[in-house]
């Protein structure tokens, strides 16, 4: 069986909201797959339906050949979930938490204890084994949480926003971990708001917006789907941003892509020649650049092109061209 997860016109409605609106997904076995989208797009709902925590309101979801609505137990036997919030007992120690999950999965007390120690070692948490989880840092919590999902080999590991709120170092550790888990042959489905994360980890990804998959493919495919290249440049003087943007729009007609960096502007250009035109127009207007590059569009550019708005609103969103 080559398909790990398949959803067909999957619908999930809550009292006042259609969280999943005919979501279609096909995810192959043995890959890392990213569900990409802003807050409230339906990513978490999708994961909760696929892990049997929510019942679909319509359509179909099949995980490893089992319909989630009709055979939830069969699905639970084969998958693991690490939710968005550390789903471990904060009052218990790291070791006790892992023993708990091992026991609940059917291991003997002895096997559970040794598996717990082994996992703590593998996750660099040995020294925290006898400390209560409530004393753990964010990164340590995330690791113990993922460890609890890897007591035994799941055929699919669901990770809901595994790096949200983590510092860069912890985030890198989680990324390494995901790669290792995938190398062991487990299919990983992860959700993320960070386009960089999907780009780094996932072989294929779906962009979710308002409960629908609005694009699907490899990162490369998604980028080429919007066509052309992206010219990015960094302004020497951020005060000139508005002027630069107006100028670029005039040269190109349109095509200014959003950028979270207030000193940077990205534009979609159809050829290198057009890029040169933009640059000389900027020079003629005495707008100085500190840097520029011409390359494939980023996933941020993709999301903007697909939905007309940036993927994640940064804290200084008022500074970002809309």
């Amino acid at each position: 069986m080559n398909t790990a997860i398949e959803t067909v016109r999957l619908v999930k409605t809550f009292a006042d909201k259609r969280a999943l609106d005919e979501l279609d997904l096909t995810i192959r076995n043995g890959s890392v797959y990213g569900l990409l989208g802003p807050n409230g797009a339906g990513k978490t709902t999708a994961i909760r339906v696929l892990t049997t925590l929510l019942k679909p309101s319509g359509g179909k979801a099949v995980v490893l050949g089992h319909d989630v609505a009709r055979e939830p137990t069969a699905v639970r036997r084969k998958v693991s979930l690490t939710g968005q919030y550390a789903s471990v007992d904060e009052d218990l120690t790291g070791h006790e938490n892992l023993v708990l999950v091992s026991r609940l999965l059917g291991m003997s007390w002895g096997a559970s204890r040794s598996r717990a120690s082994e996992l703590l070692g593998a996750f660099g948490l040995s020294e925290a084994a006898s400390k209560q989880v409530r004393t753990f840092s964010g990164g340590m919590r995330r690791r113990i949480d993922i460890a609890a999902s890897l007591v035994t080999r799941p055929e699919i590991l669901f990770l809901d926003e595994p790096t949200t709120g983590l510092d860069p170092r912890s985030r890198n550790q989680v990324w390494d971990l995901v790669r290792q888990i995938a190398a062991e042959g487990t299919t990983v489905l992860l959700t993320t708001q960070y386009l960089e994360e999907a780009d780094r980890l996932a072989e294929r990804m779906a962009v979710i917006d308002n409960g629908r998959a609005i694009a699907e493919g490899t990162s490369h495919e998604l980028k080429s789907s919007i066509g052309g290249n992206a010219l990015r440049f960094q302004l020497a003087d951020p005060a000139q941003r508005t002027r630069a943007q107006e100028l670029v729009s005039r040269v190109l007609g349109d095509g200014v892509l959003p950028n979270t960096d207030p000193t940077a502007i990205s534009v979609k250009v159809s050829s290198a020649l057009v890029a040169t035109e933009v640059l000389s127009a900027l020079r003629d207007a005495s707008i100085l650049l500190s840097d520029f590059s011409l390359g494939a569009p980023s996933l941020d550019d993709v999301f903007f092109t697909l939905t007309g708005r940036p993927a994640a609103q940064p804290a200084n969103s008022d500074e970002v061209g809309s």
Partner: protein, 272 residues
């Protein structure tokens, strides 16, 4: 080197195959073990079940004893079985508080996504609560004995009364399990419960003889299951006839479980 900087060793990430699913009995035991660990790590949660009953027993015995029964020694003979009932009835709310905490923290998502007998977490928590009830009961009875409580039916009578209180507590817990799943925070489980527990325990025959109460209140007291449980445990401890109250309590418990347990389990299986 801080714990954060410890490297992860890839060779140790060995992923064994899943064993066969755990037996229901074994998962309930494991979750009861977890409840005990929580008490071990957060002993403060035993504060309510130890200090409050000691305070109540001392206060009521010496404050009201003389006025209500002539002397504290006489009063404690009827008060102590009642204080035991009141204490345990109050502690039952922790079942709902604990459940609500687990749901809010996301722990239930993990439990529900595991291939185990789904009611295990609820039953495991109840098993852990039994320990709490036992600690509180031992303390109260021990203190009572020191203060002059002399159960005529001896140890067996006290044990039977304790067992009956446990049956009722188990039944009542199901109500808090429902509350635990309905409300948003553990604190609101606590707050809501007081609206029920205050009248239930004070408008009873625990502290005073209902004969001095207005008629309407007497009616309430006479149907209040807490009154029957109190009469039953007094009877069992002192060896007087209490068969009717024992039966009344058992029937009331059965009705509560019969109504609330199916509702609670239904809600538990529902999504959140």
């Amino acid at each position: 080197m801080s714990l954060d900087e410890l490297p992860m060793r890839s060779e140790a990430l060995r992923l064994p195959e899943r064993p066969r699913s755990a037996a229901a009995f074994s998962t309930v035991i494991t979750l009861a073990w977890r409840a005990m660990l929580k008490i071990k790590h957060v002993p403060f949660q035993l504060f309510d079940v130890t200090v409050t009953p000691i305070m109540f027993t001392l206060l009521f015995t010496y404050m009201f004893g003389g006025a209500l029964a002539g002397s504290p020694e006489v009063y404690i003979q009827s008060l102590l079985p009642g204080i035991l009932v009141q204490t345990i009835v109050f502690i039952t709310v922790y079942t709902g508080v604990g459940l609500n905490t687990d749901i809010q923290k996301g722990l239930f998502d993990r439990f529900r996504s595991l291939p185990m007998w789904q009611p295990s977490p609820v039953l495991g928590a109840l098993a852990g609560d039994l320990f709490r009830y036992s600690v509180a009961s031992l303390l109260i009875i021990g203190l009572g004995l020191v203060l002059g409580f002399r159960p005529a039916a001896g140890a067996l009578g006290v044990l039977l009364a304790f067992a009956l209180v446990l049956v009722f507590a188990f039944a009542l817990s199901w109500i808090w399990i429902i509350f635990g799943m309905l409300v948003k925070t553990p604190e609101s489980v606590m707050t809501t419960s007081f609206f029920f527990l205050m009248p239930l325990t004070f408008a009873s025959n625990i502290f005073v003889d209902p004969k001095t109460m207005p008629h309407w209140l007497q009616v309430f007291v006479s149907v209040n299951p807490v009154s029957h449980l109190t009469s039953a445990s007094r009877g069992l401890m002192h060896g007087t006839d209490s068969a009717a109250d024992v039966v009344w309590t058992l029937v009331a418990s059965a009705i509560i479980v019969g109504i609330c347990a199916p509702i609670a389990m239904r809600m538990y299986h529902q999504e959140r």
